[in-house]
């Protein structure tokens, strides 16, 4: 199998200009990932800056309400900047420093990855440019202001649908142009190899913690781990350490959009194999291979592709991928706020919504939902619904 493949998914589908940078990144990463100094530096930031480990919380009232298994939340919402995204940006920014690159670029949709990137760049003193679709800039003005406050620059992207996908295109174009002094921090387990691997590994801190915490709190592994899947980084992060534990059910939740008769953003459920943004994976496309305009109530899931490793886990039936619609996610958003006092990100609300399906599961089973982010960023859009 070629390097960077997961079954028939993955690869390095990029313009040749970027080839050396990806190989350089791959080499450095393979070298450094077991390096003690690097890992100590990373751990120090995780602990004292990000606020790790994130707690494993028993959702007592939600458990009662569902009347099925015990429900636990892995609290990535408590991380600095409010989501799992920082786990990855911190790691990649340290990598960039090792690569001697002083300029960082990143794409952002809802702005979360942009904020997380601008944050670590501020801390490490790296120049930072964030590409963001003009449509997204308008609907996420708070995050744009945050990015600016953190000293980074937001570059508006007006081409195509002027959203995340186009911001990604534009980031790649910047990277092609400035590849020698610039590191591109991709925000999910998408893109060409070695990104899916790197982003998964940095995110898997949450899965590793969860493994230890499960043993500590309920003396065995979880029976099921649920996470929402946009590109799939938070999900790969909690899934990865459990992939070989075959009795742990892994469930990824994709955004179904308004209803089954519209295009949502469920690339595995509704897509087909293709190449997008550097990887062969499941994507939402028409018969001619044109990428479709997706939709979801949650900006962070509104992406026509998915990480290749998820496509693979689905293909080999190791994980299952379900669809949750906008209205179900919104119900879960309010329900978990009212029952547990935790306002989740709309992305996360998709994962939570799936709990409604689980009332038949035995009461002594343990189900963990990855609480990938908090809802602060979504309040204005929910308010204006």
């Amino acid at each position: 199998m070629n390097k960077g493949y997961y079954g028939k998914f993955g690869g390095i589908f990029i313009p040749e200009t970027l080839s050396f940078a990806l190989r350089e990144l791959d080499t450095l990463y393979q070298d450094i990932k077991n390096d003690t100094t690097f890992n100590n530096e990373l751990q120090d930031i995780y602990i004292h800056y990000v606020g790790r480990p994130s707690p494993l919380y028993f959702a007592e009232k939600y458990t009662e309400n569902i009347g099925g298994p015990k429900i636990w939340f892995k609290r990535e919402d408590l991380n600095h900047t409010g989501a799992h995204k920082i786990n990855n940006t911190v790691g990649q920014a340290l990598l960039a420093k090792k690569l001697g690159k002083k300029r960082i670029i990143a794409e952002t949709g809802a702005g979360q990855h942009g904020v997380a990137t601008a944050t670590i760049c501020a801390k490490l003193g790296l120049e930072c440019v964030i590409y963001m679709g003009e449509t997204d800039i308008q609907r996420q003005e708070l995050n744009v202001f945050k990015i600016n406050t953190l000293g980074a620059k937001v570059v508006p992207v007006s081409s195509g649908t002027a959203t995340l996908k186009d911001a990604l295109n534009e980031s790649i174009r910047d990277w092609v142009t400035n590849v020698e002094n610039t590191h591109y921090i991709i925000g999910s387990v998408t893109g060409p190899h070695p990104y899916p691997e790197i982003v998964r590994d940095f995110n898997s801190i949450s899965g590793k913690e969860l493994k230890d915490q499960s043993i500590e709190r309920f003396e065995k592994l979880p029976d099921m781990v649920i996470a929402c899947v946009g590109g799939g980084s938070n999900a790969m992060g909690v899934f990865a350490p459990f992939v070989d534990d075959l009795n742990v059910e892994l469930v990824g939740i994709e955004a179904g959009g308004v209803s089954d008769s519209d295009i949502g953003s469920a690339s595995i459920n509704d897509g087909s194999i293709g190449v997008l943004h550097g990887a062969k994976t499941m994507i939402l496309q028409n018969n001619s291979g044109e990428i479709l305009e997706t939709s979801s109530i949650s900006a962070g899931l509104d992406y026509p592709g998915v990480g290749p490793e998820h496509a693979y886990l689905a293909d080999i039936d190791r994980a299952k991928y379900k669809k949750v619609f906008d209205s179900q996610a919104l119900d879960a958003f309010y329900k978990v706020s009212r029952l547990e006092g935790i306002i989740p990100a709309l992305e996360t609300a998709h994962a939570i919504a799936y709990l409604e399906e689980l009332s038949d599961i035995n009461k002594d089973k343990n189900v963990v939902v990855n609480m990938s982010g908090r809802g602060d960023k979504d309040l204005y859009s929910v308010m204006s619904l």
Binding site: I12, T17, F20, N169, V176, E180, G274, L276, K280, N287
Partner: protein, 259 residues
């Protein structure tokens, strides 16, 4: 065959003319007319961009052309019929240039087969890396040639692994950046082309940001063909597109022929 054509040019110390068009841009009729005109102007190879929603290696000009063509309802099956008609009238070499996803639907085999039947001579898939050897084999199995990209950032190792797939032509990218970029370092390009010729005998065409007779003058002795892309697409956006294109190309062609 494309490779033969360029070997021939090299033998006679000539530099090929390789214009780039986006399929059906600015519309079907003008595109057809431009294709015929370029053939009549003696194009040695015409690259035809297959429009894609997310053409990540393109600058604004070509990206907009892709989107415009899609908006006009571009459809590959219909387009292949158009190509058939063109090839009935002209024997100019043509390659389909585009992004992997456009070539994989429904499968690389089927797209190769139909493209060959329509008269395409080869493929240039911008984001298809040399590792995808099976894909290149499948393409060649359908009697199509393919073009290998080499960038200023390509390592010797990369280039050699790419060459092991036996491309018919090398496309040397003049600069870091997207199509139409404006950062040409003439001497760097010349040196890199010289180095490249030391590694391989495969003919080399050169493109990205070439738009003036000065550029042609600087490069023609170092390459087997010159690609004119964004600058030409810009002409086609004008009110009298074919005339505009011809006017623009006149001094360029003159410089190309000027030994």
């Amino acid at each position: 065959m494309i490779s033969e054509r360029f070997k021939e040019l090299r033998k006679h110390n000539l530099t090929g003319f390789v214009p780039y068009l986006v399929a059906n841009y600015p519309n079907k009729d003008i595109f057809d007319e431009a294709l015929a005109a370029l053939s009549n102007m003696g194009a040695d190879l015409i690259e035809i961009g297959i429009p894609f929603t997310d053409p990540i290696a393109e600058g604004k000009t070509i990206e907009s052309a892709h989107h415009a063509s899609l908006k006009n309802g571009f459809n590959l099956t219909n387009f292949l019929n158009q190509i058939k008609n063109f090839k009935n009238r002209f024997d100019t070499h043509i390659v389909a240039m585009g992004y992997a996803n456009s070539f994989l639907n429904p499968s690389i085999e089927e797209v190769s087969q139909k493209s060959r039947e329509a008269g395409f001579d080869g493929f240039l898939i911008v984001d298809m890396p040399y590792e995808e050897t099976d894909t290149f084999k499948l393409i060649k199995g359908r009697d199509l040639e393919f073009i290998q990209l080499v960038a200023p950032t390509s390592t010797q190792e990369n280039i050699e692994r790419g060459l092991s797939n036996n491309p018919s032509l090398i496309y040397y990218i003049t600069q870091r950046g997207v199509t139409g970029a404006n950062n040409l370092d003439l001497t760097e390009v010349q040196n890199n082309l010289k180095d490249l010729q030391k590694i391989t005998n495969v003919p080399i065409i050169t493109g990205f940001g070439i738009k003036s007779s000065e550029h042609i003058k600087a490069f023609k002795d170092y390459t087997d063909g010159i690609v004119i892309g964004s600058a030409l697409i810009e002409c086609l956006a004008n009110s009298n597109p074919i005339k505009s294109m011809k006017d623009f190309l006149a001094p360029i062609l003159e410089e190309l022929k000027n030994e």
